[in-house]
């Protein structure tokens, strides 16, 4: 039956000891970070030891978790009511990348890499770097959890990409860039010196590098070559870790939650993402529909409310409040009907996806009480 989707058992998912990673994904502006934080708090208050990795939280939400600045290490959140513990951290992309270099490059080359302008630009600005670093951090958190026993559940928020799919594609893109033909071309002179470079000169390779040189100026190409040369020792590592993380995402114990708002763009993205997860054999636990507007007086139709409001306008002594409330209700009924239609369209195209809803709140969530309430609403 298309109209009534399966209900997502949020508490069942959170309290199942087999659940070790939950990834919250979805397009930007749907409240992913808030959902991730609310789930993490709820899991902790039900006894799990949890760490939540947030990417770009709103200032007040971050403060509610005790995160006052970018900090690449998890900190314990105060005020958890229950048996579990909650740690939170905000991803520092630059720092994470620097740490990879520091931990994996040849010691004498670390500074050379960190100071290279191309590295600085790549680490701060490449459109996939944030996604890649989020995945890298997930792997680290997993290892730390296993070593120290500080947490047994990791909840990850994903970067606010233009499209939810970027999150799955970007690590691979960075990996294939670093492994790619062009890099090999660029590295050739650095690696083999004049002899090899002369040999390549005759091939198409050199045309490509010459054209690039002409276009970008030789300074840039030189920087790239130096950078790539210095990074060489880490190449295998990049590829290997990208693959490990990928496997981690397919592993048992990982659950994806797609977050969407009941709006056409967000739901379209959610549908793409759902299909993509299935294609990649990644386990989707369900859809979280955030900011749904409930109707509180279902028996009163929009038409009836508006007709009554007009009558009150015409002849009542104190019409403004009563008529205003009726108009408000009518607006809500229409909004809710539209949201329902959109949600049903999603369910019809993605049968079998379990759904949980969070009703819209009038204010922004900025403390643990707000997160707790969101968690309560989510669990139904």
């Amino acid at each position: 039956m298309s109209g009534t989707p399966k209900r997502l058992d949020v508490d069942g998912l959170l309290t199942d000891p087999a659940t070790s990673i939950i990834v919250c994904c979805g397009s930007g502006g749907v409240g992913k970070t808030t959902v991730a934080a609310a789930l993490a708090l709820r899991a902790a208050e039900q006894g799990r030891d949890v760490v939540v990795l947030t990417i770009d939280p709103a200032r007040r939400l971050a403060q509610s978790l005790g995160l006052t600045e970018l900090d690449n290490n998890p900190r314990e959140v105060e005020g958890v009511q229950g048996a579990g513990r909650l740690f939170a951290m905000m991803l520092d992309m630059q720092r994470t990348f620097d740490e990879i270099v520091e931990n994996h490059a040849d010691p004498e080359r670390i500074e050379q890499i960190l100071q290279n302008p191309f590295y600085q630009s790549l680490s701060a600005g490449f459109s996939g770097t944030q996604e890649y670093m989020a995945m890298e951090k997930l792997g680290q958190l997993r290892r730390t959890g296993e070593e120290t026993g500080s947490w047994d559940l990791i909840i990850v928020d994903t970067p606010p990409s233009r499209s939810a799919l970027d999150f799955l594609d970007a690590p691979n893109r960075l990996g294939s860039f670093l492994d790619g033909k062009l890099i090999k071309v660029l590295m050739a002179p650095a690696k083999a010196g004049g002899g090899f470079a002369l040999k390549v000169l005759a091939s198409g390779f050199s045309i490509a590098t010459m054209a690039l040189n002409k276009l970008l100026g030789s300074g840039l190409l030189h920087d790239v070559q130096t950078f790539v040369g210095a990074l060489e020792s880490m190449f295998g590592g990049f590829r290997q870790r990208a693959e490990e993380t990928y496997q981690l995402l397919q592993a048992e114990g990982t659950a994806f939650l797609v977050v969407a708002a009941p709006e056409p763009d967000a739901l379209r993205e959610a549908a793409y993402f759902t299909e993509r997860l299935a294609a990649e054999n990644m386990p989707l636990a369900g859809l979280i529909l955030n900011r749904v507007h409930p109707v509180t007086v279902p028996e009163l139709s929009a038409e009836k409310a508006l007709a009554a409001a007009e009558e009150l306008d015409a002849d009542s002594a104190d019409p403004r409040l009563a008529a205003g409330l009726l108009r408000l209700h009518a607006e809500r009924v229409r909004l809710a009907a539209r949201e329902r239609r959109l949600a049903e369209r999603f369910t019809a195209s993605q049968p079998g996806v379990a759904v949980a809803e969070i009703p819209a709140q009038s204010g922004d969530i900025h403390d643990l009480d707000g997160l707790r309430l969101a968690g309560d609403l989510l669990a139904g």
Binding site: S27, K214, T296, S316, A322, H329
Partner: protein, 331 residues
């Protein structure tokens, strides 16, 4: 109210936090600017095909094509700028790099230049928009330029300054060469009064905060800030400051008024709860409005379109923008 953008402005860059309706605002602005016989180009740069979805047409190719007629006979063209195509076009125009162009593609250099070297990609995207701004009119008698205005559906607020500040981005990478020169030419247009960067927001805490941060960053980079477009402004059904009006006593009066319509006390109570939430929301929105006013930029409010955005809704928003521009002009 001050003018939302200077009269000489021809490149309108529309940014905004995800979910605030930046594409919608950009499209409505393009319609508004085309009103009364203008010709406007609406460009997108993120490969999302948001414009095609909004206008309910097939995905846009890398080609300028007419997508809408504005009130009073103007016309809006649309273009989805693809960085790879833009790069090949650029190479062809300046270098006639036939064979080398193909070699570049084969060895992933195009991928490299457009995806990995971030400044490079941005220079190509903004460069193409600037080219459209400067393009002279061959087929338009009496007009100096091919387009009266170009509207860009730009990357989100969090990335906009970096995106537009191509000069600094590229300067760190390419110190000499054509890309550097191109970046400088683009930067001259972007920092001139011909350009205005508009920020789309909604009246909520996080988008407003991000908008204010965005205004600061743009100013610090010397980029001209235009208007703040407040999108999806809801109709106020209760006057602000009337929260007390949904008091218990008021609820009783309302219950008495609604009883003849078959609405019982419990239902009235549910309506009152809705009213209180609404009043709370209005109060919060007032706080956000004041914060936005504090930015010192012109603010234009766009109404919430019930039932979702369609072509009719776009024209409604365009009318709101035209009205704001007209008021600004008169002031």
């Amino acid at each position: 109210m001050s003018r939302p953008w200077p009269p000489e402005c021809r490149l309108h860059i529309v940014t905004g936090k995800g979910g605030t309706g930046k594409t919608t605002a950009a499209a409505a602005l393009a319609l508004a600017l085309a009103e009364g016989g203008g010709r406007v180009l609406l460009v997108e740069v993120e490969g999302r095909q948001g414009i095609a979805q909004l206008f309910d047409t097939a995905p846009l190719p890398y080609e300028e094509r007419s997508i809408a007629i504005a009130p009073g006979g103007g016309e809006v063209f649309a273009l989805a700028i693809d960085p790879e195509q833009a790069l090949l076009e650029y190479l062809d125009m300046f270098y006639k790099l036939g064979r080398a162009g193909k070699a570049l593609k084969r060895f992933g250099a195009i991928d490299f230049a457009t995806t990995v070297a971030p400044g490079m990609r941005d220079v190509l995207l903004t460069g193409k928009a600037c080219e459209a701004v400067r393009r002279t009119a061959a087929d338009r008698p009496g007009a100096a330029f091919a387009y009266d205005a170009v509207v860009m559906d730009a990357p989100p607020t969090g990335r906009i300054t970096r995106f537009l500040n191509v000069n600094t981005e590229v300067a760190g990478l390419a110190r000499v060469g054509p890309v550097k020169n191109q970046a400088e030419a683009v930067m001259r247009v972007l920092t001139s009064p011909q350009t205005a960067v508009h920020l789309t927001t909604v009246l909520e805490d996080m988008p407003v905060q991000e908008t204010l941060d965005g205004v600061e960053e743009l100013r610090a980079a010397g980029l001209p800030v235009g208007a703040i477009l407040v999108n999806m402004v809801r109709t106020a059904h209760l006057t602000i400051g009337k929260r007390a009006a949904v008091s218990t006593a008021a609820e009783k009066r309302v219950a008495a008024l609604l009883r003849p319509y078959g609405i019982d006390t419990d239902e009235t109570h549910a309506l009152a709860v809705l009213g209180r939430e609404h009043a709370e929301r209005l109060t919060l929105e007032e706080v956000e409005r004041r914060a936005l006013d504090g930015a010192g930029q012109p603010v234009v409010e766009l109404p919430q379109i019930g039932g979702g955005i369609d072509l009719g809704g776009l024209y409604e928003l365009a009318a709101a923008l035209s009205a704001a521009a007209a008021i600004g002009e008169a002031a």
